[in-house]
């Protein structure tokens, strides 16, 4: 168990280096340079050189990257080219919004997906077909379009929920919740379908296993067999899928936050991309990578908890 976690953590180091390295190399291809765009056309050559020096732009690329990595190590992600705000501050301020979106969507997708999956594994083939169709559309329809359709229905046609905007939890928990309902649902839909499908398939194969027959033959109730024994065995496949879904939700926030105008990381990275504000894109990219790493770690821990063989070794 511990070995798996340590291995995961060791693997995450090259991953972070690769992600930051790729963006860094790409950055070097940019025509023109940040110093020029920061200063504008009226700057004197002296000003220009001074800024280049303070930004370490006059040093070789490898040296620059090394400085960047050192900064990373001290929690320094650089400054936004446009607002000159510390990227760390931007990320810290916006992370709660993105996290509440991702965690909310994961909870919704998990609960609804698992319930639907178990139901269709144990009751009849019609619901199996329905899941197939729903999951096809759920995964095929572009999620930005689903989000817009939700707005058109639940905010415009039936004015039940706010179409856009965000209210911090501290201001009003109730408005906070209602501002998150539509974004969470829009994000969760694709995940619901996937989780339901995996739960169903995995339950169906588990229900055919020998020990389920032993339990049935021993007179154990159907409810206990389904919820205690079969679902537990499907836990591995389902928790992997939940992890995968969560990882997919992270880039999904880019659309959800833009459409519902939420001040999270996703909407910030779109703005930064449009402005060519590379330190911000880089910093948010690393944050997203870190989220992926943490989720993978949690999935590994869940594996250990669910599987006594892994736990005891």
């Amino acid at each position: 168990m511990l070995r798996i976690i340590v291995r995961r953590l060791l693997l995450s180091i090259p991953l972070l280096i690769v992600v930051s390295g790729i963006t860094f190399i790409l950055e070097s291809f940019v025509p023109g340079d940040p110093a020029r765009s920061l200063l504008g056309v009226n700057a004197t050559p002296e000003q220009y050189d001074a800024l280049r020096q303070s930004l370490h732009l006059d040093e070789p690329l490898v040296q620059q990257y090394w400085l960047y990595l050192q900064g990373l190590f001290h929690g320094d992600l650089g400054r936004s080219i446009f607002t000159n705000e510390e990227v760390v501050t931007t990320v810290a301020g916006r992370l709660p919004v993105t996290l509440s979106l991702v965690v909310g969507a994961t909870l919704v997708a998990t609960v609804v997906g698992v319930l639907f999956g178990v139901y269709s594994a144990t009751r009849g083939r019609i619901s199996r077909r329905i899941i197939d169709v729903v999951s096809l559309f759920g995964s095929a329809l572009p999620n930005f379009w689903v989000a817009l359709a939700l707005i058109a229905i639940f905010a415009v046609a039936l004015p039940l929920l706010p179409a856009t905007g965000y209210v911090p939890f501290e201001d009003s928990p109730q408005l906070w919740l209602s501002s998150l309902v539509l974004p969470v649902v829009a994000l969760a839909i694709g995940g619901v379908a996937l989780i339901a499908k995996v739960t169903r398939d995995s339950m169906l194969s588990t229900l055919g296993l020998d020990y389920i027959r032993t339990l049935r033959a021993s007179g154990v109730s159907r409810r206990s067999i389904i919820w205690r024994h079969a679902l537990r065995n499907s836990g591995l496949a389902v928790s992997t899928t939940i992890g995968l879904t969560l990882i997919n939700f992270v880039p999904g926030t880019i659309f959800a936050e833009t459409i519902f105008v939420l001040p999270g990381l996703g909407s910030a990275v779109v703005t930064a991309t449009n402005l060519h504000d590379i330190p911000v894109v880089q910093g948010i990219g690393l944050t997203f990578t870190l989220i992926v790493i943490i989720v993978n770690l949690l999935v590994d821990v869940a594996y250990g908890l669910l599987n006594p063989k892994v736990r005891s070794s």
């Binding site: 693997l11 991953l15 572009p142 020990y211 033959a217 990219g285």
Partner: protein, 589 residues
């Protein structure tokens, strides 16, 4: 088998093959047609589009559908249909770029890793691991931030990183292909690795490649239009599908149809790519499936249950009469147990003998309603005492399972839930059966008693163990303890010793015999091993192809087998053949 059941099952079968044709042939064909038609019209947009994509008509903005504008106009009075046709060009060419990169890179890495193996495989697999963990969208955004709105560079990056998924799949297939005979033959005949890879391995992977490409094309379309929607791909005012969804979102209230058609075309294409991929996958698995062993189809009807009262012979515990079991398969229902009749008396050990496929296990399982979903009792019935147990509903059987009839399965290693301790499973069964008062102490004491009764040492210790921590013989004893929890009158043991070592087998058989002696419980022993039958059974039936070919007291079967099949079985079991030839010797072992 009764006639109505057969026709009903056949009806089910033909309906199912019809839905299969629809799902595997017609739907993918429609999907492909849609993709081809849309792609073709988009690529000849200059010829088809009724208006230039940028031509404004401000007096006629946000108009509904009309003869002049089939899908209406947008907020600047531009013709929506024309813009959809033109706007498909960046979307579909982006998909083409991403999908080509995906296919070329994924196939190359996958084949190299899978076919060459060794260190090539290790290096490539490590690279794939990293590629799969990188959040692709972030790199795409980085590319877009750096190369101003160069959507092709972005789609290239998307294809590159997604290729890791394809490479994984292909690598797995290659590892399997490498062992195939035709590849061996090519290698022996001296072909170079490159030639083997391109001539022999590549074609075998085409099916899987097409599936993955189709599914990925759907994803790529979502990403491309998503970037367009965010305003990162095609600069306004040029039309693009994603950008049009963005424009439509500004006028949701005034012109909902605009949102519907601009998102709709993306949705239709995505669904078509998805359906094409799924359809190709089904075709591929159809091709691989061995003819005749198709997907089972449920029999819809149970036999019209006989309500014959049980003949009043108090010594008879189990009566099985004219009993037939069938399974639905894609080639129609197959009768596995054909009209068999036998009785089991109180306290006797009864052998149910036959080779695999003779129907013995199916008979045993069906008595407890444990058949898989596609199996059912299609004739006759079975009674325990005077209570009919088969056919019976799940509700009725719950009172029988564990309480009246205990069941011990063939493979002890998989017969227990690997996720719970022995104690947890045993106490659950004891609690469910409810023979002891519900106090935790009483339940635990009863569980420990059960483990002692199957002669397991240190039961407290066993209670804390997980199944994977015990040996096969110990697990089989635990499984027997589970079956004894409800003090059943009849124990059905399905090949209880087959999966065990010879030395352990004898112990389990001794245990069964002593349990019968102590409790007066009858045992049905399902086995293919005539040695076991000779060892502990009182009476037996021999089954072959679903029918009973021999029945009676064990001595009678061994010394005066009437049926040629039984004689053959006896002759193939050396020590029994010798014993039979020498009637003076006692067969008790």
């Amino acid at each position: 088998m009764t006639v109505p059941t057969t026709t009903e099952a056949l009806a089910v079968q033909s309906r199912s093959s019809w839905t299969r044709t629809v799902r595997h042939r017609i739907i993918p064909a429609i999907a492909l047609t849609v993709i081809v038609l849309v792609t073709a019209s988009v690529s000849v947009a200059p010829l088809l589009a009724p208006y230039p994509p940028l031509k404004q008509d401000l007096l006629n903005s946000l108009a509904g559908p009309s003869g002049a504008h089939l899908l209406g106009t947008d907020d600047l009075g531009r013709d929506i249909l024309s813009r959809l046709l033109w706007g498909g060009q960046p979307a579909l060419s982006g998909v083409a770029v991403a999908t080509s990169v995906f296919a070329v890179v994924g196939m190359t890495l996958g084949i190299l890793a899978g076919y060459l193996g060794a260190w090539t495989d290790r290096v490539i697999s490590a690279v794939l691991d990293i590629m799969l963990s990188v959040p692709g969208i972030i790199l795409i955004l980085a590319v877009l931030a750096i190369f101003n709105q160069n959507v092709f560079a972005a789609m290239f990056v998307l294809g590159l990183f997604a290729a890791a998924n394809l490479a994984r799949v292909i690598r797995g297939l290659c590892l399997a292909l490498r062992e195939e005979l035709f590849v061996d033959a090519a290698r022996v005949s001296g072909l170079t690795p490159f030639r083997i890879m391109s001539r022999h391995i590549l074609p075998a992977l085409t099916g899987q490649l097409l599936i993955q490409m189709s599914l990925f094309a759907g994803i790529a379309l979502g990403v491309q239009t998503g970037l367009g929607f965010l305003g990162l791909a095609t600069p306004a005012p040029n039309p693009s599908w994603g950008g049009m969804v963005g424009e439509a979102s500004q006028v949701i209230e005034q012109h909902p149809l605009f949102l519907l058609v601009s998102g709709g075309i993306i949705g239709i294409m995505s669904v078509a790519f998805g359906l094409l991929g799924d359809g190709l996958r089904d075709l591929e698995s159809d091709r691989r499936r061995i003819a005749g062993s198709g997907r089972p189809i449920p029999l819809s009807a149970l036999a019209s249950a006989e309500s014959d009262p049980h003949p009043a012979d108090p010594s008879v515990l189990l009566t099985v009469r004219d009993y037939s079991v069938a399974f639905g398969t894609s080639s129609g229902p197959r009768t596995v147990v054909d009209s068999i009749s036998f009785t089991v008396k109180e306290g006797e050990i009864f052998g149910l003998v036959g080779e695999s496929g003779s129907g013995k296990t199916v008979t045993a399982q069906s008595l407890l309603g444990l058949l898989s979903e596609n199996g059912g009792i299609v004739g006759g019935a079975a009674w325990l005492g005077s209570q009919r147990i088969s056919p019976a509903t799940d509700q009725e059987l719950r009172k029988v399972r564990g309480r009246e009839i205990g069941f011990v399965a063939q493979e002890p290693m998989v017969a227990l839930d690997p996720h719970y301790t022995i104690g947890s499973q045993l106490t659950e069964v004891v609690r469910t059966i409810g023979e002891v008062s519900s106090g935790t102490g009483a339940i635990r004491a009863r569980s420990l008693d059960l483990l002692r009764s199957v002669h397991l040492p240190a039961p407290e210790n066993i209670m804390r163990r997980y199944p994977h921590e015990l040996s096969g013989g110990m697990l089989q004893r635990v499984a027997i303890a589970l079956a004894l929890a409800g003090s059943p009158r009849l124990l059905i043991a399905d090949e209880p010793t087959t999966a065990l070592d010879v030395t352990v087998q004898a112990g389990i058989l001794d245990l069964l015999r002593s349990l019968r002696d102590e409790r007066g419980m009858a045992i049905i022993l399902v086995t293919h091993d005539l040695g076991v039958v000779a060892d502990i059974c009182d009476r037996a039936i021999v089954m072959q192809r679903g029918r009973i070919v021999e029945e009676g007291a064990v001595e009678a079967i061994f010394y005066a087998a009437k049926d040629p099949y039984t004689q053959q079985l006896l002759a193939s079991t050396p020590n029994i053949a010798r014993d039979a030839a020498d009637p003076g010797r006692d067969t008790d072992g």
